[in-house]
């Protein structure tokens, strides 16, 4: 009883608009976002899966029951059983453990790509939109060049040129992901470029850097975050595709795309080798898409 009392007090404090501190105002915004996420079952399911992915990746050594790299040819291509929940692969490695460690690879790629792409895309797009003129023309033509290739082909070309390996795959994917982000940032910036509140900041002496970081970022961030979340699935699929073609993660590293690729020789005898990582890729991509759709409803400035 006392406990539910504190919770409802906390709820009242968070929901109240009579803020008494900046921290309360910030928590209020976060809490409202949380409430609308919980109210949207699909988005919440996506969030739960993504959270699960993070937990699994963080605690992989504790969750995996076998060493994902230990080979045992006597145990090769075993069907799923109590000892090996998802069976074993052609080297006798436990598929479940490799799947768990593969979550790390997937998360590593998506986070790294996002961290590279978000600032680059924003800075290029927002600078082009805010400054206009020849800066805009030059930056947008460069963006167009990258946009004019199909992204998988571009990623293939880059990772072939850079050589196989997960870091190179990350760079190759990042090179294909930033241009749409830059376009989006430019379009958003253009809508605010001549807003009175931006003019007011200029008339108070704010420089270009301050306007972009303090005034444009908070307005562009929601749509960029949504776009990046929706892009996660294509990043995962491209990474898996590169792994499948032997250009991404190299053996013996556990990577879902590479796992599916090596399993396809045994598709008829050992269906679990391709099916299990395939389902993992599907689930995680779908989760990111659902979460992105939900975030769009929650964070879009036009909704509130």
């Amino acid at each position: 009883m006392a406990k539910s009392g504190t919770f409802s007090n906390l709820h009242d404090w968070l929901i109240s608009e009579d803020f008494t501190s900046a921290r309360q105002a910030r928590l209020h915004t976060v809490y409202l976002g949380w409430l609308s996420l919980v109210a949207n079952p699909l988005a919440f399911a996506g969030f739960a899966v993504v959270l699960l992915l993070v937990i699994v990746a963080a605690f992989a050594p504790m969750i995996a029951i076998h060493d994902p790299f230990a080979q045992d040819f006597a145990m090769a291509l075993q069907a799923p059983s109590a000892a090996h929940w998802f069976g074993t692969d052609e080297f006798g490695r436990d598929v479940f453990s490799r799947l768990i460690y593969g979550a790390r690879t997937t998360l590593y790629i998506t986070i790294l790509v996002t961290v590279i792409v978000a600032p680059i895309g924003f800075v290029i797009g927002a600078t082009a939109g805010y400054l206009g003129g020849w800066v805009d023309v030059v930056l947008m033509r460069i963006t167009d060049i990258f946009l004019s290739f199909p992204s998988l082909v571009l990623a293939l070309a880059f990772s072939a040129a850079l050589g196989p390996g997960i870091e190179n795959a990350v760079i190759a994917i990042a090179l294909t992901v930033w241009p749409p982000i830059a376009r989006l940032a430019r379009a958003e910036t253009l809508t605010f470029r001549n807003a009175d509140f931006v003019i007011a900041a200029e008339l108070q002496g704010a420089g270009t850097g301050r306007i972009l970081l303090r005034h444009i970022v908070p307005l562009c961030a929601p749509s960029i975050i949504v776009r990046l979340t929706l892009n996660m699935s294509s990043i995962i699929l491209t990474a898996a595709g590169l792994g499948f073609l032997g250009l991404g993660a190299q053996p013996p590293m556990a990577e879902w795309g590479a796992m599916a690729a090596s399993g396809r020789q045994y598709l008829l005898d050992a269906w679990w080798l391709t099916t299990v990582p395939g389902i993992a890729i599907l689930t995680v991509s779908l989760a990111f898409n659902l979460l992105g759709d939900g975030l769009r409803d929650i964070m879009d400035p036009r909704n509130g």
Partner: protein, 262 residues
């Protein structure tokens, strides 16, 4: 002592063949503590004059002198802080994702001012807003409250001049008077000089000492408040403007059969 001197001020938009001269050769002086009105039909160049004075429009010729200092095309921070613009639309002039406190903190950071929280509290009190409003977002405020925030933001750099671009025309009638009275108080308390743009002659007569009547980018007449009140303006166009706003009032009265506020 004159706070603002504009001589042969002209302003344009666009470049080359598409260049459009919007303000054509206006000259005026505004004394310290005076309120100077700009009246004229929409599109005649009132906001453009304010923009040139504020540093928003860079394409102007002629000379501008503010507080005894001749202004060039590029301004220093100190020169920008001398005058601040208050916009017509309080819904578009405050950053929607900044709390009010953040909005008021920005100019202090830009100008490297000290005692920041103290200054924010003082300016909120000055414009008649509760102190805890600093934690709110603009969407939690009414139009009148937002316009008070916009005035507070303009005042926080301790300017000598406020350039008011139709500051009440986007507000409810009941709120308009509050904001006008606030502006009147502030002018006295902070010894401010105003240039007030309005299409409402009642507002102008309430606040302004002198009024420039504008037509297609030029002044047709500069009238004193006395002349407005006694209806002894000289120029025919001024008379049309005055009759225009009177006709508008009586028309509204006729339609509904009862007196409506302007």
């Amino acid at each position: 002592m004159s706070m603002i001197k504009a001589h042969h001020l002209a302003a344009s938009y666009g470049h080359g063949d598409t260049a459009l001269k919007v303000v054509k050769d206006v000259s005026f002086e505004v004394q310290k503590g005076e309120t100077f009105g700009l009246v004229g039909e929409s599109g005649c160049g009132k906001s453009t004059i304010l923009g040139a004075l504020a540093g928003r429009n860079k394409q102007w010729t002629g000379s501008i002198e503010i507080d005894g200092e001749t202004i060039g095309q590029k301004r220093t921070r100190a020169q920008l802080a001398k005058q601040q613009l208050v916009f017509q639309d309080p819904f578009g002039s405050i950053h929607p994702r900044h709390t009010i406190g953040r909005t008021l903190l920005e100019p202090l950071e830009i100008h490297g001012k000290d005692r920041r929280q103290e200054r924010i509290e003082k300016v909120l009190t000055d414009v008649g807003l509760p102190l805890n409003f600093r934690y709110r977002y603009p969407h939690q405020l009414s139009g009148g409250q937002r316009q008070r925030v916009a005035i507070a933001r303009a005042l926080i750099l301790e300017p000598k001049i406020l350039l008011l671009d139709e500051p009440t025309s986007a507000l409810d009638v009941s709120i308009q008077a509050e904001i006008l009275n606030l502006l009147k108080d502030l002018r006295q308390r902070e010894q401010l000089t105003y240039i007030l743009v309005s299409h409402d002659l009642a507002v102008v007569a309430h606040l302004c000492d002198r009024v420039a009547m504008m037509q297609s980018g030029g002044f047709v007449e500069i009238a004193t408040r006395q002349q407005l009140l006694e209806n002894t303006v000289e120029h025919a166009y001024t008379r049309i403007l005055m009759d225009g706003s009177r006709g508008y009032v009586s028309e509204r009265r006729n339609n509904k059969g009862e007196a409506l506020p302007v």
